[in-house]
Symmetry: C2
Subunit: 132 residues, 2 copies
Amino acid sequence: MADYYTPGEVARRFGLSLDTLRYYEREGLLTQVERAPSGHRRYRAGDVELLDLVRCLRETDMPIARLREFAELVREGDHTVPQRLQVLEEHDARLTERIAELRRRQEAIRHKIDYYRGVLAERGPEEKEEVR
Amino acid sequence: MADYYTPGEVARRFGLSLDTLRYYEREGLLTQVERAPSGHRRYRAGDVELLDLVRCLRETDMPIARLREFAELVREGDHTVPQRLQVLEEHDARLTERIAELRRRQEAIRHKIDYYRGVLAERGPEEKEEVR
DNA sequence: GCTTGACCTGGAGTGCACTCCACCTTCCAG
DNA sequence: CTGGAAGGTGGAGTGCACTCCAGGTCAAGC
């Protein structure tokens, strides 16, 4: 139990494949990951923390390109906090809008469901014989 | 003002491109669309209604393959209403789960935003001079 | 020492949902 | 009657986010 995580551990923890993990690194979504002398990756707490945010943003559909920009800001240092904040605030707003849209669409779908239920309720009774 | 819509009208109405409209038809997401003798498509009220549902399901991320299955049920006739209902109910449940997940992720993102704001508030005051 | 499982790299391949293109026909306002 | 907009077809191309693969190296228990 050292002070770092192996690729396998990280992959399991976040439900990502090793390939995805490496892909994210190649694409610059993580700060440079340390290596053992053997070349094996060693994920530190900071890597895991950033990855946690990355996954959070990915699962809310932030595109890889935007995530890369964000990761670049992180790499540039503490003076980019205002820009990072802006990225997150904008994403938060998008997310609010997206959730609202999904809710609206869900409403419409539920109306359709109700309509179909009505159809079944109306014709169901007298067709019970016929159908079976 | 006839009792049908042209492709352009339908595309504008739903915010889809003509290519997408034709693509949906090719993929079997619509019931067969009528044609004028010239070959031009004529969308009837029924087509528009189905397309409205299709778009609703697409914008809530139902895959094309599943939409095709649904459209096939529609083409098979009224006796498939129970299956259609099942498809919609399942999608509704998925959607509920998806919305809940987005909300959870949004919570996490907002925590990060608050954290960044804290960072700025703490170091901001004495750096105001320095920064500008 | 050897096997087995985890890890490495560079690069190719995949699946999805469009999107674009070339080239031809049809419609309709002036 | 004509020019431009709208529409048609088949097929190729695109962008995104992975995902897979070959052909190796490394670590650890027996």
